[in-house]
């Protein structure tokens, strides 16, 4: 039986059903907004790209928007994927010359998106 605050807190954890649905890639480039072809990364397709949290692709981009050399590129899975698909995706991305600072897997928790959208 939980007795300390920490133990009580841990005991309230709600287990979620977790499903891999995509990857956020943080890409560094001096060449403007990255561009990807559908299908070039197998089951992962680029859904949007943001810079400093503001969506810069697809759709309207204010000419006033100041961008830095670090882009968040959200790739969503087009079919059921496993961690091994992400490994292959990262390898392909590097092979194609994309320099990236980090990758964050995207999951759903009990069917709900466990990640934010860009503004």
């Amino acid at each position: 039986m939980a007795t300390t605050f920490s133990e009580v807190a841990k005991s309230t954890r709600k287990k979620k059903e977790i499903r891999l649905v995509g990857v956020d890639m943080y890409i560094i480039t001096e060449n403007g907004i990255p561009s990807f072809q559908d299908g070039e990364f197998g089951p992962f397709k680029c859904e949007f790209i943001s810079n400093r949290g503001t969506k810069v692709w697809p759709g309207f981009v204010s000419p006033d928007l100041m961008m830095v050399n670090w882009y968040r590129c959200r790739f969503m899975a087009t079919q059921d994927v496993q961690d091994s698909n992400v490994d292959a995706f990262l390898a392909t991305l590097s092979k194609k010359g994309w320099w990236w600072s980090a990758a964050q897997k995207l999951w759903t928790h009990d069917g709900e998106a466990a990640y934010s959208k860009a503004y």
Binding site: R52, D64, R72
Partner: protein, 337 residues
């Protein structure tokens, strides 16, 4: 043809009635403005499927200046804040929030005249959040060199143009050495162009304590987004609350002026709320448009009406409706001619 074309965003809840009252005052000041009304907020969801329709964005992009009433931001879940989206879309990087004592509103302090310059587009507001396990959430705090430099540069330029003497950077760089450290470093770099202005820095928690103990010591403050969000409301509280707090969101080519309070939906249609926050935001807008004489006329009349206390709204001890308060300001302006 009107001298200025301004997008009016009445917002929701009490926003429309407030904005109509404010428009009546601004129009009576003699300034020549053509208002173009556009929609924003929860009311747009059904018709457009978004809180911020494209036609609203296009109209603001055309006019480059807007006056905005309050909107409601869903908490925890649901759609993104229309306010934050506007700031992001137009890169309105400088949130300028003056906190100045209104003579009639008696406070424990005898002098507060602070201009807050809140970086408006980065920090924890970059909308990069993930559940990184089923019991851990993570939000990326994004601070960039150009984003930090330009808000500091903007603040110094504003200070120079308005005769302000001191600009201080608020941060937590003792703990967040990379992010707040970069913000502070960019501030110091920008400061080199303004040698006549005294600079300094203060850790955010100490700044809060100092603001409550001795707010008169501060002149201009430059803050990252999150601290700015919190401290600007603290400053508003020091001078009488959000009911009198103006706000300007300024970018390189576009500016949106807005009240920073909520939309108070439970009072919608009752015409009892105080429109002063939108009005003083409108006064800021007029000064931004170089309509200084009209801005001064409205401000003087508003202070006079508040001072008389005969036609003020319930929140400042009166019984006047929104419209009666606005009309009293108009009458005072006309009497002052």
């Amino acid at each position: 043809m009107a001298q200025h074309v301004v997008t009016m965003l009445p917002g929701e809840g009490t926003g429309p009635e407030i904005c109509e009252a404010v428009r009546s005052v601004i129009d009576a000041s003699g300034v020549d403005i053509k208002w173009e009304y556009e929609e924003i907020g929860l009311g747009c969801l059904e018709q457009y499927g978004t809180l911020l329709p494209d036609k609203t964005i296009k109209n603001i992009a055309k006019n480059k200046v807007a006056l905005k009433g309050p909107t409601t931001t869903p908490i925890g879940t649901g759609h993104k804040s229309a306010n934050v989206t506007l700031r992001k879309v137009f890169d309105l990087f400088a949130n300028v929030r003056p906190a100045k004592l209104i003579p009639v509103l008696k406070r424990p302090w005898d002098k507060i005249d602070i201009i807050n310059f809140r970086e408006n587009t980065e920090d924890s507001y970059a909308a990069i959040e993930h559940m990184v396990s089923d019991e851990v959430a993570q939000c990326l705090k994004v601070i960039t060199w150009p984003g930090s430099y330009r808000i500091a540069d903007f603040a110094f330029q504003w200070a120079r143009a308005n005769g302000r003497k001191k600009v201080y950077c608020v941060h937590k760089a003792n703990i967040m050495k990379m992010t707040d450290g970069l913000f502070l470093e960019a501030f110091r770099e920008a400061a080199k162009k303004y040698p006549e202005i005294e600079i300094g820095d203060v850790i955010v928690d100490n700044c809060c304590m100092q603001l409550v103990r001795n707010p008169a010591q501060f002149d201009c403050l430059v803050l990252p987004n999150l601290y700015g969000d919190i401290l600007t409301d603290l400053c508003a509280g020091l001078v009488g609350g959000l009911g009198f707090a103006p706000g300007a969101n300024i970018g390189d080519n576009c500016s949106i002026f807005e009240a920073v309070h909520g939309s108070a939906p439970k009072y919608a249609g009752m015409k009892k709320v105080n429109p002063s926050a939108v009005l003083v935001s409108g006064i800021m807008m007029l000064r931004w448009l170089k309509e200084t004489a009209a801005a001064d006329r409205i401000e003087k009349a508003m202070f006079a009406v508040l001072d008389e206390r005969k036609h003020v709204t319930y929140d400042v001890g009166g019984t006047a409706t929104t419209d009666e308060y606005a009309q009293a300001i108009v009458d005072k302006m006309h009497a002052g001619k």
